[in-house]
């Protein structure tokens, strides 16, 4: 009897129970951060903790902004994330097309080398880059940070681009070439428009990656005019008063850091999922 019931509805029940557990685990730290940011300081430092705060307040936000040059960091993060997502996506799309369509002796080797270069950990290459940046004067510059971050995400982006181009039928390009269009005209007028979904996906993903990056800005942007939000959040945490960290202001800052990426995933969910799954199938 039970078995029969389960066979008929079991799947659906299990799915919904699974969904509830999943949603709770994924969202409760998120809920905690958001709620903390609207909780008055004295209530945050209270035991036992309140799961549903009684007095909501906005004061943590101006308090946070008065402690650190928040808007400056915000602008720096935007420049860093927009700059590196644009640069990495454009150069990877170019390379992706080159590797997928314009086969030359050794092109597979180049592709393999690019993908395998992911295995060289970012943190283990810092010293020579720092020396080089000292010589080139790229420390504490937006350009220097954007170059590093773009390079970090290009292997994955090229990978996605190659598999995307491989799925576009080659006939349209051939027809254009036969009609007398040059290779560059074909690329600009035919290939570029068809690659638009892949470009959008990788712009979003690379923006998020850069927005969240800590290591590069921490090492190569030590001054306020280039410091990003991730580094700012850490330095806010180090401003410990007494024994406890300033969680009231840190949570307010966290919420303002989360807002852009949450907007991106709400509107770009399909694009992100299709982009990431495309990378995996190959």
């Amino acid at each position: 009897m039970v078995g029969q019931f389960l066979r008929r509805h079991g799947g659906r029940i299990v799915t919904y129970i699974g969904f509830l557990i999943f949603a709770f685990v994924m969202l409760f730290p998120f809920y905690f951060i958001v709620v903390s940011s609207f909780t008055p300081r004295y209530e945050i430092f209270q035991t036992p903790p309140r799961y549903f705060p009684q007095n909501l307040t906005l004061e943590n936000y101006p308090n946070m902004i008065a402690t650190i040059p928040f808007w400056q960091y915000y602008a720096n993060s935007l420049i860093f994330a927009i700059g590196s997502s644009l640069l990495s996506t454009v150069v990877s799309a170019m390379a992706g097309y080159g590797l997928a369509r314009l086969k030359f002796p050794g092109s597979n080797l180049v592709f393999l080398g690019l993908v395998l270069s992911i295995a060289l950990p970012q943190v283990a290459l810092l010293v020579p880059i720092r020396e080089m940046y000292n010589v080139l004067g790229l420390n504490n510059t937006h350009l220097g940070l954007i170059i590093l971050m773009s390079s970090l995400v290009t292997p994955f982006t090229v990978w996605i681009m190659v598999s995307f181009v491989n799925q576009i039928p080659v006939e349209i390009e051939e027809a254009a070439l036969i009609d007398g269009a040059t290779l560059w005209q074909t690329i600009l007028r035919i290939v570029l428009p068809t690659m638009r979904p892949a470009l959008a996906t990788m712009l979003i993903i690379n923006f998020i990656n850069a927005w969240n990056e800590l290591l590069y800005p921490m090492i190569f942007a030590t001054r306020n005019d280039t410091k990003t939000l991730s580094v700012g959040l850490i330095s806010l945490g180090r401003e410990a008063i007494g024994t406890s960290r300033p969680w009231d202001r840190m949570s307010a800052m966290s919420v303002l850091m989360i807002i852009p990426v949450v907007i991106l995933i709400i509107f770009g969910q399909r694009a992100i999922v299709s982009g990431l799954t495309r990378g995996a199938v190959k």
């Binding site: 994924m26 990877s92 390379a95 060289l120 010293v127 969240n212 989360i258 991106l264 995996a280 199938v281």
Partner: protein
């Protein structure tokens, strides 16, 4: 004027057509690939070679002179208790979190792939931990685990368990693993989702006709089919998480003591204090671990393919 322009256009056309179609394609390919290759040479290949050379030097710009010390840095590493503990926790962290990310990733991917009304909502929720900054996740969870004000501590206390996660070395390590699994399972899940979408419905139909239940068809159809992909993702996660430094840095600063310090954190600390020679030697240790993981990966991949 017009005629002139016409003329020059024909001239360039004649010029380019001197190259064969293949040659022109090679030139185009070179131009298209140049930026990415230059970026990678500049920020990975050159620093990689340079790091290996630096690892044999005693080099701190604040304390000259710079000198060649042979294997000196590596001898120092061998007797450095903090580094040994960091390497130990790095391996626990990398293999432990990858294992659980794969297990939960397969479960979440099955959920995201099953047909139900809230599927799109589930996919959006899944992206939230992946998309929020690691630093934010780390400080948020740090607070949840806090010994005095943390929700998790309080909930356990209500159940009669009094435990200070971040003061106990083992607890702090477990806490870091929990956050890592929470943060990166979504990425693994999306990647595995791609594999699940590739499994044809007909196979499940056939299994159902033969009387297999959902569990049986998962074990004998889904799992074997997504195994190669799972191994690939696992490899990627192993290598990628080797470099994770922001989580322990922002959550525990490697503490208590140096229980949650990982190799990446040690390298960053040495770079920050300008111990460039020693930092490079630690980096070489990290390259060796990458190589080890690569070998494990190749073996695992062979076995999976043989099993198929």
């Amino acid at each position: 004027m017009v005629a002139n322009a016409e003329n020059s256009r024909t001239v360039t056309r004649v010029k380019t057509s001197r190259l064969s179609l293949n040659q022109r394609r090679y030139v185009a390919a070179a131009l298209l690939l140049a930026p990415v290759i230059l970026l990678r040479l500049f920020t990975t290949l050159y620093p990689f070679v340079q790091t290996i050379f630096l690892s044999f030097e005693k080099y701190n710009p604040a304390f000259p002179p710079r000198q060649y010390v042979g294997l000196g840095n590596f001898e120092k590493i061998a007797s450095d208790i903090v580094v040994r503990s960091s390497v130990e926790f790095t391996l626990i962290f990398v293999f432990g979190s990858t294992l659980f990310q794969l297990i939960f990733g397969i479960m979440v991917a099955s959920l995201l792939n099953s047909r139900f009304r809230l599927r799109n909502l589930a996919r959006t929720i899944n992206l939230i931990p992946w998309a929020i900054p690691m630093v934010v996740a780390a400080v948020g969870w740090r607070w949840l685990f806090d010994g005095t004000y943390g929700w998790i501590t309080d909930l356990l206390h209500r159940l009669g368990i009094d435990y200070s996660w971040l003061i106990d070395p083992v607890g702090a390590r477990i806490a870091i693993l929990i956050v890592s699994v929470w943060k990166s399972t979504p990425f693994v899940a999306i990647s595995i989702l791609a594999g699940l979408q590739g499994v044809s419905e007909e196979l499940y139909e056939a299994a159902r006709v033969d009387g297999a239940n959902a569990w049986q068809s998962f074990w004998s159809i889904t799992l074997p089919l997504i195994m190669p992909l799972t191994v690939t993702i696992g490899m990627f996660m192993l290598v990628w998480q080797l470099a994770v430094f922001d989580l322990p840095y922002a959550m525990t600063s490697g503490g208590p003591g140096f229980a949650t310090s990982v190799l990446a954190y040690q390298i960053q600390q040495q770079v920050a204090t300008l111990n460039y020679g020693y930092a490079s030697a630690l980096s070489v240790v990290m390259f060796l671990i990458v190589g080890l993981i690569g070998i494990i990966g190749v073996v695992a991949f062979r076995r999976v393919q043989v099993a198929l």
